[in-house]
Structure formats: structure tokens, C-alpha cells
Symmetry: C3
Subunit: 318 residues, 3 copies
């Protein structure tokens, strides 16, 4: 594996290799010195064209815990803005001979393009409405720890599926790990033809009781002015996940940051069945694992016994 | 000591323990390698909802000199802005299992609330008009180095006492260390009933000759438009500390950044009796000491002989 | 050498000492662990009053690869903005006892002033229209690697010479290393009397075929509104360097970031004769060398055999 551009390109075995690696970093995280020397003297660049404290700080801390040197470029407000093309920016940063470039960009396909312009390993930290593979991996990791396996589990993804790269990456990843996925939201926020990806579609929460896991998406304020939904209040009335709609054996997830009182009620967020904080913790160790697999994977003696070379059915991707 | 939330909660002995620890870090600062491995592999988060280069860089460098990994979140312009509550942001950052969270926030009591939401040690780096305890500690440290002891010293705090968390924390700290404090400023900028904290009040600089130390506060531009004072010029005419009003044996302090020509004259700032630069230097070692006491304090063999277990009278706090 | 303020003050020998040192860091950059412990436990401050991702990230990574602790202050949007004078900001940062302060400032002479206010070594990372010495050093380094020597080479500097500190520093540096320099651009963008610096002046690209090296300058958008040129399109028609105007044995340079399609055509940027990416790579090792020479230069056993103590003629500076 040279780059991490899309979940779509990963086999179940490749996903599980990353998750197993992440388990070993979770063990490091329980030590007093939460740090390994793996990437000492190597450089990791983070290049964010959209602000995201959560994702960037997670990647940055992951790089630091691997002892890498970090170059963190926030493109908004930087000279990157002064009309320089993405290609030239990448050429510039590549001149530092980084081991990896972690890129967040508003255009779908940006990470793929970057991979064509640099010797560095490229990690897609979100490209437009396309993919956000590290999010999907951390979500699968979180669920695997709770459930043991995703095989046969039912997962509902609720909210603005249309604009969400998280929905897209997670739909693929959950299915590849053996889960059955339903996407749910108002018709204006569900992309036409999404059934072709092998999922069910629902336009109400009526049957949500069947879900083992409810994965709520962030409702962006700007969708209101674009009239995808009549109002946030209206949206919340019909699609908010609260403790009445959720039953106590269902698990609740959200990629964050949460709009309290919109897609989730405060009570639901704070309930014991919410995995939101575990997702963030998973993000750190999964991103350490991603950097490790890309940058040091070849050198590794498998530190974790390989998952039994199981003939489990590969989830059917799109 | 689990958190540092307010000077109000520290005994004189606790204050002195931090100052003694800071002395030992001042010694480290005179070495060529100004760094100790104490917090290697541990994470310190700085979370600033108000910009403050001075305080944030001081805490960040303190963390680095203790070899911690740093996650620095500037809330303005970050996803923290996207409607996420403070509670959820703290839950997110806590998922990284940081050893400490250093928080600056515009609401009084924010640090205290954060302490209820995280396992990390919380350091209040300024919460609204409430407290700024690390500032008070570095000021006491600076004076103790110059004067040996604060017992019986007279300290005037001059300026916008009403809006100043520095005034509040320092008033408490100076008194607790045995000093006598007078607050001075126009009636509009002195809180009613402040005498109950045990200080004197003056509305003119007439008697400032009695002070051993003059502590000038920053005059915020925005107070003008709110008509607390007629104009900066008017304020300066009456309350500016200059070299005519200051006599050569008085010490001058200011928390920075200074408005040259408003609360202080340029000459006064640059005079040998000004301790302003020493305060900044003190800030670094005192913040190293705070992090050390909170995060590694239990492990310590006392590196500095304890101050004689002196029966000196504890300053009378509010 | 205590500070690096201006190329004007460096002798050819001093320039070559820095370039030789940079060669040794280029060797470090080819290792797996691209890091040396030279500045461990010492502090480097970067203080940027103008944004420049390229220059700041280059200096910051250089400091990290030397194992320094970094304090990075971006003055825009920081408390530095709150009316604090440069002098007071420098006094504040100097209180951390940094080994070096790297400053970018819009006023010519700012770095020189800073050097008078601090014990730290000061590196001028660009001061108004005055100088940008590290840029000149990295450009000379890049050319020396390609050409062996600059003696007798013809270098054309094309574009907005009037507003460019890069033009000024490079003109001096190229000449001092033995090259012959022509500056080229519309009369509105060439400073009167520049011939006195010993260069030729041209107002068209007609004779550019004589150049061994074409060094294009960045065309700032804001010059348009100030009517130095009729329009960017007009400028590009007359002065853009493209592959028709460039012949294949000429080398092309640019300080970046490039405006594709304005001062350079896309084809020219991407051609094999373009050294733009090499310049960025050179920037890192040259800045490591600058910090090394200023901060650890005294300790050094010459790691590279000294260039033959050659009696080569010193280029005639202004």
C-alpha cells in the first residue's frame, strides 16, 4: 500500500491489517510514554484547504507520537492562497522530501491528483464529497472493538447523505466488513440511485429499531439556505436521534463536531450507548496505524498475530 | 493539587512550592540544553478561545521544554467555531488522553467547568474577568526574586481593575504572600465593594509614593467606546505611570502587552526599575513549574530545600 | 558572524562557508533520519509580520531538523496586533532566551533594528523592499550545484525589480559570486539608477538569449491596481518567460509562489530546465546552514574541506 486515497480500493484484509496495527498503538496509548520512535527524523506534511481542528489535530498528534517532524500548512490565509496552484504547492512541499502528505481539499479527486505529483505517501483526509477513508477506518475500528465483528450487523446512516464523504466512505467500509447498511434522510438529502451501492434506503426513522448501530451525520447550517430542508427545526423534528427514538441496546455514532439539538439530542450524545468519544480516541490510533502501514509497513515483523486467515465473505462493494 | 483553577484556592505554602520549583527550572534555563525529559511521551493540550500570543507561547514553550507532545487548538477560526459546545470540544480533546488541558476562555468559570468534564489536569490560562492564576504566580515569583519576600510590601495596582482578571488574581496572591495592596483608578474602573477583599482604594496617583511596587494594568481600547473613560488621552493624563510619577526605588510591573504612551510612558517601560521583561522570563519557568507540579508532582523528591516551615502570617484573602 | 541581516555585508568567503555547510546538510537530507542534534534544548523563534508559508515552513523545518524547540509567532491576528510595538514584542520573546529570532517584516531595516534589541542571533527573512538574504543564498547554492561556479555567468533578473527584495539581494549575491547581472522589466518596474549597482538594464526580452540563467520575479496582483503595468495580460504578453523565449540550455529560476500564466508559462515551469523545485529543497538545507553557522559555528571542526583559498575576484557590490 503506497497511498491511502479511498476505502473503495482497500480489501477487507487490508482494512483488517490497519485495524490490527491500530490495536497495537492503543496499547502504546495506555503506557506512560505514549510514543514510539518509528518515524524519527522523517517528515510528515499536513496540507489542509478546509479547516478541521478535529482531523488535523488527530493526524498531527499521530505523527508526533510516531516521532516524526511535522510541517503543518493551513491553506486558508496562507500564501497557498496567493494564486499558487495545488500542483505547485505540492511540488514545493515535496522538495522537503516528506515521507507523507496528508491532504484535505474541497475537490473530489484532489488526493488522487496529489499522489501523481509527489514521491511521498499521500493520505486523503477528505476530498470534497468523495471520500474520507481514515474516518471510515476509525469507525470500523470503534465498532469492531465493541461488537467483535461487523458481520451481519445492521447499520443505519442518518442525515445528509448527499453531501457527505463520510457517508460514502463508511457505507463502503461497513459493507466490506460484512454489515448491512441502510441510509436514511429526507429525499432531498439522499443521492439518487444510491441503492446500487448495495444499501437500503429509508425516508423515515420508523423502522430504525432494527438497527444495531445508528450513525448520524453532521447537518451543515449552509444546507438550510440552499433549501435542502425547510429548517433545522423541521429537520430535527423528523430526523433527530434522541433517546426516545433510540433503544438502549443500539449504539450511536457521529463523526463530529456535533450540532447539539439538531441531528442529535443532548441526552443521546451523553448516553452510555454513544461511542462519539471512543471514535475520537480511535481516530488517533488508527491514524498512527495508517502512517505506520504506509511509511514503515515493509519493515514490520507482524507485531500482532494476523487475524485468522478467515474465509469470511468480502462485503459486496459498489 | 489536581488542577490550577484559581489563586483563591491556593495556600501560601502551595504558592511557595510552585515558586521553588520554578527556581529549579530557572537553573535549567541557564544551561545550554534548556530541556528536561519529565513529560516525554505525554500530551499537553492548549485550548485558546481568545488570542494571546504571549500566554499561549509561554505555555507551549514550557510544555516543549518539559519534552511533552503539544496539541495547540486556537478556537477562533477552527471547527470549534462550528457550533460545537465547549463540553463536546473538551470531550473530543480528552479522547487523546492528554496529561493537561490549558484553557483560555472569555467566560468566568469556564476552566472550572472543564475540570468537571475531563480526566486531564486543567490549567486556567484566563477565564473572563475571573482569574488568571499563572499570571499572578509569575508576578509573585518575579517580586520574590527581587525583594526576597513580599511581607509588608506595599503594592499599587493601577488602571482598569474592573475588567481585569489579572488585577483580581494578583490582588489575592499579593495579599496571601503578605503584601498590602492598594487598587487605583477612576471610579468607573474600580469595582464597588472591592475593599471587602482587604485592599485600599485610591482614585488618584497622589499617594503613589508610598508604593514599593507599581503594577499597571493594560488599558483596553474597547473600554473607550464603552465610555468608561472620556478618552485614552484623558486617562493617560491622570493615570499614566511615567518617570516623574515613579521614584527610582519603586519597581514597575505590567502583564503585557503594553500600550506605550497610554498606561505607561516609553521611558518608564525602558527604565531599569521596570520588571516587564523579567515577568515574561518568569512566565516560562513558572508555567514549567505549574505543569510539573500538576503532572509529575507526586513523583518528586524535593529538588529545592523547603523554605523554612515558617510561621509567617498568611495574608488575609477575601 | 553574529546575525544574518543582509547579503550586502557578506564576503564571498562567508557566502561560500554557508554553501559548504549546506552541502553537508544535503547529505543529512539523503539519510533515513534527516535530523541532527545540534540545537537540542535551544529555542528558535520565528516572528512573521507578513504571511509566507514557504519561507516560514522552510525555516521551521530547518530548526526542527537541527532539533531546536520552536516558537512560531504569526503576527497577523495575534496579540502582536494589539498595538504592541515591535521593540516590546522582541523584548518579550527575548525573555525566553532564544538562540535565534527569524523575522519577516514589511519595513526595510526592521531586522537590523531587532538585532539591536536582543541577545539572540537575528535572521532577516525579508524586510520590506530591502533584503531577503536567505533567498539569495539558496539561489546561489542552487546555481553552484548546477554550474559548479557562477564566475562569468550571465544572469537575467526579469520582472518587478522595483518592489522586490529578492531582486536586490540576488543582484548583490550573484555579482559577488562572479556573475554578470542584467535586470529586465518595464521602465515603471525598474528602479532609477540601478545601473550604479553594477548591473545592465534592459526593457525588453529581445537579448535574453545571452543569459545562462533567467530569474523571473513574482508579479504581485496589487501592482495592477497601482497601475505600474496596464494589466497582467499586457505584462505577460511582453515579459512572460515561456518555452519559446527560453532556449533549452538556459536555466530558469523563480522565488515562488509562481503565478502560472503570468510571469511564467505553465510549460516553462514544468520544463526540465526549471530549477524551481530545487530552489525549495535548497532553501531547507541553506537555512539549516544559516542557523548552524550563527548558533554553532564557533564549535565546528570544518566538516567539509575548505574551498581552495582561491584568489577569485570579489564581485563588485554597490
Amino acid at each position: 500500500m503506497k497511498h491511502l486515497l479511498a476505502i473503495e480500493k482497500l480489501s477487507r484484509d487490508e482494512i483488517e491489517a490497519i485495524l490490527d496495527r491500530a490495536e497495537s498503538f492503543a496499547e502504546v496509548g495506555r503506557r506512560d510514554i505514549k510514543k514510539v520512535p518509528t518515524l524519527r527524523g522523517r517528515t510528515v506534511v499536513t496540507l489542509f484547504y478546509e479547516s478541521s481542528t478535529r482531523t488535523s489535530s488527530s493526524f498531527e498528534l499521530a505523527a508526533k507520537r510516531l516521532s516524526a517532524d511535522l510541517v503543518s500548512v493551513k491553506a486558508a490565509g496562507s500564501s497557498v492562497d496567493k494564486g499558487e496552484s495545488l500542483k505547485d504547492t505540492v511540488a514545493t512541499l515535496s522538495a522537503y522530501d516528506p515521507a507523507a502528505i496528508v491532504i484535505r481539499h474541497p475537490y473530489a479527486g484532489a488526493a488522487q491528483m496529489v499522489a501523481g505529483w509527489t514521491e511521498a505517501a499521500v493520505v486523503n483526509a477528505g476530498d470534497g464529497k468523495h471520500e474520507h477513508p481514515s474516518q471510515a477506518l476509525l469507525d470500523v475500528y470503534t465498532l469492531r472493538r465493541r461488537l467483535g465483528s461487523l458481520d451481519g450487523r445492521r447499520i443505519w446512516i442518518v442525515g445528509d447523505v448527499l453531501h457527505s464523504r463520510v457517508a460514502r466512505s463508511n457505507l463502503i467500509a461497513f459493507q466490506r466488513m460484512g454489515a448491512e447498511v441502510t441510509v436514511c434522510g429526507p429525499p432531498t438529502l439522499i443521492p439518487r440511485g444510491i441503492e446500487e451501492l448495495g444499501c437500503e434506503v429509508s425516508h423515515s426513522l420508523e423502522a430504525i429499531g432494527e438497527a444495531d448501530v445508528v450513525y448520524a451525520l453532521r447537518m451543515q447550517q449552509e444546507r438550510m439556505s440552499e433549501s435542502f430542508v425547510p429548517s433545522l427545526r423541521e429537520y430535527a423534528a423528523t430526523f433527530q436521534i434522541d433517546t426516545r427514538r433510540l433503544n438502549p441496546r443500539q449504539l450511536l455514532m457521529h463523526p463530529g463536531p456535533v450540532n447539539r439539538g439538531v441531528e442529535l439530542s443532548g441526552e443521546a450524545i451523553d448516553s452510555p450507548q454513544s461511542l462519539i468519544v471512543e471514535q475520537v480516541a480511535a481516530g488517533l490510533v488508527v491514524r498512527m496505524a495508517i502512517l505506520y502501514e504506509l511509511l514503515a509497513g515493509g519493515e514490520r515483523p507482524a507485531p500482532v498475530p494476523d487475524e485468522e486467515s478467515s474465509p469470511t465473505p468480502i462485503g459486496q462493494p459498489a
